[in-house]
């Protein structure tokens, strides 16, 4: 069998995987109940089944109807943007807003096409001033500004 439409092939596979996962997990762990008194497994199991079925249909389409290839994944921006956000979350409490914002700005700036230290540093300063004035002073969000160890 030949894959004529890679986009549909992978999309179909994704839907089948999600559908089967939700159905099987629901059936294994939760009670089904009846149509009158639906248990916690009822709705997800039915929906998951439907999703897997549609995924299968998309898979079948992908071997019969030809379509475009999947565009190349750009891992550099993908990974750096995601990493920047996660790092922001986990540095906020120990290090405070000023440093966490730095982590996010610098990591995500590495994900772009060009990285100039001067520009990014300037952007960082502007964003920090803005964040502190608007979010912390203006809107009184309860963010720590500086690292905990410094006693602020």
């Amino acid at each position: 069998m030949e894959i004529k439409s890679p986009r549909n092939f992978w999309a179909g596979l994704m839907f089948v995987a999600f559908g089967l996962f939700f159905t099987i997990w629901a059936l294994m762990n939760y009670q089904m109940g009846s149509a009158v008194r639906m248990g916690p497994a009822y709705f997800p199991a039915v929906l998951g089944g439907l999703l897997a079925f549609l995924g299968l249909a998309i898979l079948l389409m992908s071997v019969t109807v030809s379509g475009p290839r999947v565009d190349r994944f750009h891992f550099r921006p993908l990974l750096l943007i995601l990493l920047g956000n996660v790092a922001y979350g986990y540095t906020m409490k120990p290090l405070g807003l000023v440093l966490a914002t730095g982590v996010l700005v610098f990591i995500s700036a590495f994900g772009g096409h060009e990285f100039k230290w001067k520009e990014v540093a300037l952007l960082y300063v502007v964003l920090i001033v803005f964040s502190v004035l608007v979010f912390v002073k203006g809107l009184t969000l309860p963010f720590p500004l500086w690292p905990e160890v410094l006693g602020y």
Partner: protein, 501 residues
Amino acid sequence: MDVFDNLMLGFSVAITPMHLLYALIGCLLGTMIGVLPGVGPVATIAMLLPITFNLQPVAALIMLAGIYYGSQYGGSTTAILVNLPGETSSVVTCLDGYQMARQGRAGPALAISAIGSFFAGCVATLIIAIAAPPLAEVALKFGPSEYFSLMVLGLVAATVLAHGSLIKAIAMVLLGLLLGLIGTDVNSGVLRFTFGIPELSDGIGFVVVAMGMFGLAEIIANLELKGSREVFTGKVKSLMPTKEDFKRAWPAVLRGTALGSFLGILPGGGSILAAFGSYTVEKKVSKHPEQFGKGAIEGVAGPESANNAGAQTSFIPMLTLGIPGNAVMALMIGALMIQGIAPGPQVMSEKPDLFWGLIASMWIGNAMLVVLNLPLIGLWIKLLTVPYRYLYPSILVFMAVGVFSLSNNPFDLVVMAVFGLLGYICTKLECEPAPMILGFILGPLMEENLRRAMLLSRGDPTVFFTKPISAGFITASIILLVIVALPALRKKRQEVFVEET
């Protein structure tokens, strides 16, 4: 007259200096994010949601609503000047608006789109004022089966407006419904799909999902593209459209307003569907269809009026039924709930000042936008010349602040990153995130109403077809699906979407 009295009450609320100020802030903020490609009203409202906690309910809603319709105005500016949709609903405006700009007629294009939007906004506000009370009356009689069927209709409508394959859009809706079920099951108290992670017991926050799927995924996708934008800065000289322009634009504005108002009311409809629909209609009725795509003013006037009308009337299902028709309305419901107001048909009778104040503020906001937008056009153009390498880290910072402030928990950022990844994969596989988001919002509501309906009918599923209102919704859904699946129309639909790219 009732409508008149109610509107007077609304204006007396909306005209207070405080509320005028919040309307102005909302409109300006909305225009700004509308102008900037890659920042949508969903991300902005989501960011401001935790902040509205400190505001009065009326002020909070007035500001958030201003952001939404302000972004419709701003989006068209970018579409016309840069050929990029500043806002998804202005995708269609790029087609002819940008061509007009290239011919040196950016001014008239901007003016017509602002005037058209204003006219549409006025009419749509009036429609809300007239249509909402009787609809809320009907909605009070809705039982679980009616609500369930109505949501089915909404989800079907959402798949219709998705680009590309219908079957993939339906699959995305199902995926959204399933992801919406994560968390504690309200009926049994069982934790579903939480995998022992305590943060998941309350479910995944909608804001986090929306920011990941729309915000992060879009930024990552934008970073793939190289190349500069061409901004027609110097060419916005005379704003005044000619007499000929007006003559050609007026009928388009009228048709766009009518179509947009109608499509906006449908759950799952809203401004995007309205804009596409209007462009197709304009091309069909025009005596010069060959001019479309080459700078036809009707191609700007119609869709721009339609998307603003649709944006406005999409408040109707939210205000009268408590059902969010799109992601922005879901956030509005979130804002109501933060204020301790349960959304639904009772809002109108219990909080008339809020309901009518919001409606009156929409008209005021539209007037502000048309007055402010044109003189400020120079400022918005400046904003557009800011390179993306400055813009995207700033957007990321605002998003991260917004998500973190939801519960001060780093786990929310992890979830956002996961949905950013999913969103990126979906873009690559041509699966639209919009239907998924709507499914995600409606998932728990649908399950709840399905359960109640089945309990009441003692397990008889025909109840959805025997009750007249419910049967009407189901029939409408089926008709809609058949229409889209029909080969002739599918071809037409593809044509519209192909043109857009």
